[in-house]
Symmetry: C2
Subunit: 172 residues, 2 copies
């Protein structure tokens, strides 16, 4: 998720759409999954509403989220974004918000019953807040940090730091 | 996956079965998913055969893998093991082998087309070998290391170390 959020920070502004059915318009094809659906509990819905309010002055932006990207689809026809491969409510329900001035992405996440892993601190089907930000940029080095907290922000479940190197297009 | 493998190392011997349909026997209910199926490519099949051969003298053991565990099912009826929630071939195809003397678990893993993430070094639908082992035990501290390599073991995709603390049942 840290990697996903960080990648979002890097690729903001990139057009995410593939052409599933080339005769339709891109907008008609790509369903945006980062919008409320009936599986959302009141916890995720409440945070969604709070961030949508923050979006009103333009400081925050909701990031759309799709099931397909152009890149891999060309290689692998059945390819789907990992976090959008499980049915509504059963796996990953999430919405990400971006604040450009703060270089920050907040992901509000609800894990469904099909995400059972080993016994851990985060209860199945609960909602958590994943906060990731760019702490420092040095040339092509991006220093990212991330933490995962409970909805009331009182419980810190996990935290991490990571270094990403921006690709040099001349060398790629 | 490191966490998953490490947890396997810790919980070896534990009975994984739930009672989905209480009138059937446990064996009849629990399908073992760590066996070849038609979605397996020749890469994963070859490694499976190699490890099954190593199992013949008892030094290695194939670990069965199920879709449900008793623990969470009681709390959440729809709960399913995360890595067994996608359809055959589309997500996680894997089999784990355990070597008790070497304190080691090797997972042969084939990622399906529904695991698309951000562009990374591991091609979608390829097979990798995940090797995890206990390097050191100090009281209740378990020092675990793990690496992910290509089938020919020449490419190192990722490596990690982790410290696990064994729970003290008297304090739990």
């Amino acid at each position: 998720m840290l990697r996903s959020c960080a990648a979002r920070l890097r690729t903001l502004g990139a057009v995410p759409g593939p052409a599933r059915r080339p005769f339709s318009s891109e907008k008609a094809i790509q369903k945006d999954y980062s919008l409320p659906n009936p599986s959302w509990t009141k916890d995720i819905r409440l945070l969604y509403d709070q961030f949508m309010k923050k979006c009103e002055d333009g400081s925050w932006k909701r990031l759309p989220s799709y099931k397909y990207t152009k890149f891999v689809e060309e290689q692998t026809p059945k390819a789907q974004i990992f976090t959008r491969s499980l049915e509504e409510g059963l796996g990953f329900e999430y919405v990400m918000f971006h604040n450009d001035a703060e270089k920050r992405v907040v992901c509000v996440f609800q894990g469904g019953p099909h995400l059972q892993g080993n016994h851990g601190p985060i209860p199945l089907c609960s909602v958590v807040v994943i906060n990731s930000q760019i702490d420092k940029i040095e040339g092509r080095k991006y220093f990212i940090s991330c933490d995962i907290r409970s909805v009331d922000e009182k419980t810190l479940y996990s935290e991490a730091t990571s270094l990403f190197i921006k690709l040099d297009p001349n060398k790629a």
